[in-house]
Symmetry: C2
Subunit: 267 residues, 2 copies
């Protein structure tokens, strides 16, 4: 059995067809509740088993209510459509009798993908200082407790580390598991929700920015090492934001993209 | 009762709690099957009623099998979570006993949104020639029949009208209903899937590019008139593509954004 924190703390056990037991840890909290990416991790793990394909390629999570740390949860899963190339599954996480999140996701085998006859990647990785010259997320003046720092090592490009100093709704940096677990395709879904909200670079402390919906597309399996990431909101208005993210591995390959709709409560 | 094609041909009738009858028209076909945006329109309409909010703000559709034109369909709906500000609903469209698509969507009231205290829109509309100097989509050399041209008036910027000539996976132009129906928030979800696939500008004829999953975020209700749109794939590899879209109304406001994961069968 794995001894990595992530695997232990997102473990699932099927108790009946389509029903799974899990337990959310409070070690991944941001403020008083589990980080959204982490709250979704056990549901994603169950769906991946249901789908019978190794890699999530499109994961949409609707956050209905905050998850509860250090509390058990039940996951209900449905195989929507099995497929030779792509399989689709749906799931929901219930804690204390209330649905916390709903997920709809497609899975495939990214190891089977060959070289493309039409490669185009016009999203090169950002030029970031090396991780040891970036700022640990926990040192930023975010106005919120970050127990999650015990689990994820997030380093922020100094250009985005001071509240409001970047002058735009953007943040960039590096992420890896704090205990050295190598990244995989499912971990990218978690990493896509691991950075301070991009409006921090424009507005400074924005407190809790609740995600309504997050969609992550995994494009390639990541190489071992750090993941570089950049998040931008170019559409920040009327109390909501749409934030786009891109993630690259150390080999410089684009490994995932994300987009989330979130509420700006202070906006 | 409305006499607009779109409303008639995406009409739904609740036959029992959570069960709706609909019928897809073949007038929206691309090749032999209904356009994906249109195939999803009746399900979106049912979910909007279930949610009790007027505007879709986040709509994710997983396309499981092609829809069937000129055939009845049944829609099964679930109110996932009602909310004062945002309500979430899920639905599926069944034809001939098989699920065609699965949708998970959030709804809100965009008429209630006020001016933002932190407006930022760094996605200005593209500079397009006026519609009468663009090319009707049906005149493009796409290698596929377009019955949908009877329903949607799509005009392509001449810079992107010749197969492969743009040198990049991008397409831009204008869209409106062919019969003059004004656009609304739900129509933007349809319009986000109404253009030739963006790889046309790079690769030329790409035939049918089946959408696996499409997510549309509606940001504002559109003003009357044409909708300007731009679609780009900056991540085209290994037989799949992620295509981003932005839609603006004639007032120059960003009204919706889209992202889809699709298969490049010829890639």
């Amino acid at each position: 059995m794995s001894t990595w924190h992530y695997d232990l703390e997102s473990a699932v056990r099927e108790t009946a067809p389509g029903r799974w037991a899990t337990r959310l840890s409070a070690a991944w909290n941001i403020g008083a509740n589990p980080n959204g990416g982490y709250a979704a991790a056990s549901t994603l793990r169950a769906l991946c088993q249901v789908a019978g394909q190794p890699d999530p390629v499109s994961v949409t999570t609707h956050y209905l209510r905050p998850g509860l740390g250090d509390r058990p949860g039940e996951i209900l899963t449905e195989l929507v459509k099995p497929g030779r190339r792509v399989s689709t599954a749906a799931g929901r996480l219930i804690q204390d009798g209330k649905e916390r999140l709903r997920m709809l996701a497609a899975f495939a085998d990214l190891s089977a993908e060959g070289a493309s006859s039409h490669p185009e990647q016009s999203l090169p990785p950002p030029r970031l200082p090396p991780p040891d010259r970036c700022r640990a997320r926990i040192t930023l003046d975010q106005g919120i407790d970050l127990p999650i720092a015990s689990r994820l090592d997030v380093r922020i490009d100094p250009a985005f580390a001071e509240p409001g100093a970047a002058g735009r709704a953007e943040i960039a940096g590096w992420v890896r598991f704090a205990d050295g677990r190598p990244p995989d395709s499912a971990a990218l879904v978690l990493f896509a929700d691991a950075f301070p909200p991009s409006p921090y670079g424009l507005l400074g402390q924005v407190g809790w920015v609740p995600t309504l919906e997050l969609t992550v597309h995994v494009r390639r399996r990541p190489a071992a090492g750090w993941i570089a990431a950049r998040f931008r909101s170019r559409d920040l208005a009327d109390g909501t934001m749409v934030e786009d993210g891109e993630l690259w591995d150390e080999a410089g390959n684009l490994v995932a993209r994300s987009r989330q709709l979130a509420l700006l409560l202070g906006g």
